[in-house]
Symmetry: C2
């Protein structure tokens, strides 16, 4: 059965947009989403150091446009996105391990959405235990259980495995979406994801 694999790291605003927009798209085609939390910094370090080069040598015209562009997309999508958050880039390792812990309770979407909202909408530092604790309370996960569970090898290993899987399959950033072997990178590729879902549905008929 075709499914959408969604590799994501909550530290990217474009990922927040795609996370939000992929859900009605998947529902429209009745295609399930497999959420795959990753650490995008691990991807950059391994295969895409150009991200750091761009940060170190910003092109002023592009920087100015990117800020405007992000607000255009936020409006288009109906989300509030602050640029930039006080803490940026943020260390998202606990938050992304947290997505896996939430996933064990079937609450990936609930938890990830709360993390995106806290960081991008409310300018909270999602690397902090206190911030993550409040998110846990909001989505019905015991903060003490959470703090212990994110430090267990099974969870750490899964985050590493997801990140390595993305690299192995040709990914270089977040969000990366797979439909079978077909890879799509970025929020702005959802029209192509739609094409792929429509094509799959046509085949199934």
């Amino acid at each position: 059965m075709p499914r959408i694999e969604f590799f994501f790291d909550c530290s990217s605003p474009w990922t927040y947009l795609a996370f939000h927009r992929i859900q009605p798209l998947a529902a429209e085609f009745g295609t399930p989403i497999e959420w795959k939390p990753i650490l995008v910094g691990g991807v950059f370090n391994a295969v895409n150091q150009s991200v750091y080069q761009s940060r170190d040598n910003p092109v002023p015209a592009k920087v100015a446009y990117t800020e405007k562009d992000l607000q255009d997309w936020a409006r288009h999508t109906g989300l509030r996105i602050i640029w930039k958050p006080t803490v940026f880039p943020v260390n998202s390792v606990k938050a992304m391990r947290g997505c896996l812990v939430a996933g064990e309770k079937g609450a990936t979407v609930l938890f990830a959405r709360a993390v995106f909202e806290a960081y991008w909408g409310d300018d909270q530092d999602i690397s902090q235990d206190e911030v993550l604790g409040k998110i846990c309370e909001r989505v019905g996960i015991d903060p003490k259980f959470f703090s212990a569970r994110i430090n267990e090898p099974a969870i750490k290993d899964q985050l590493r495995a997801n990140t390595e899987e993305l690299i192995r399959r040709g990914g270089f950033g977040s969000p990366t979406i797979f439909i079978g072997d077909d890879m799509y990178f970025g929020n702005d590729r959802l029209p192509l994801v739609r094409d792929a879902l429509a094509k799959n549905q046509g085949r199934a008929l």
Copy 2:
């Protein structure tokens, strides 16, 4: 009256996609398009040398994806796009001056489409007089007149002026679309251009 300003250079495949897709979008909203030929190399030299840095230090995973992505977009748009053309990057200065010459006869779209098709669809070297001559014949422009006219100061100056205008207004590549002061960069931003056109129409009612 609102209009769409479309700054473009035929040497970019993403520009070919946007050139094709902007036309039905503009027609849907009854908004005229003002075609503004530029020399994108002039823009890169002035404000966006990161393009050259990326070409010199390609990220293999991104390169592989870009090829696949371009074919996805070509299929989405219903165009044939070869990657890469035998001559790439190509010197498009005569072709872009040619768009201005064609514009004097109200034939910008006809001529530009023929240039895009020759270069991206048929792998022809659009820097060559012979190739441009055949395009002229196809769209009803006298090749001798064309060859003389593209070397006249008025045409050369206009191409330079368009390029400088784009730089002055914050552009850094092709295609760049303006609706009033609102700038949009790239084929993948047409959903946002649609938002802007819809908003303008709402205001006019």
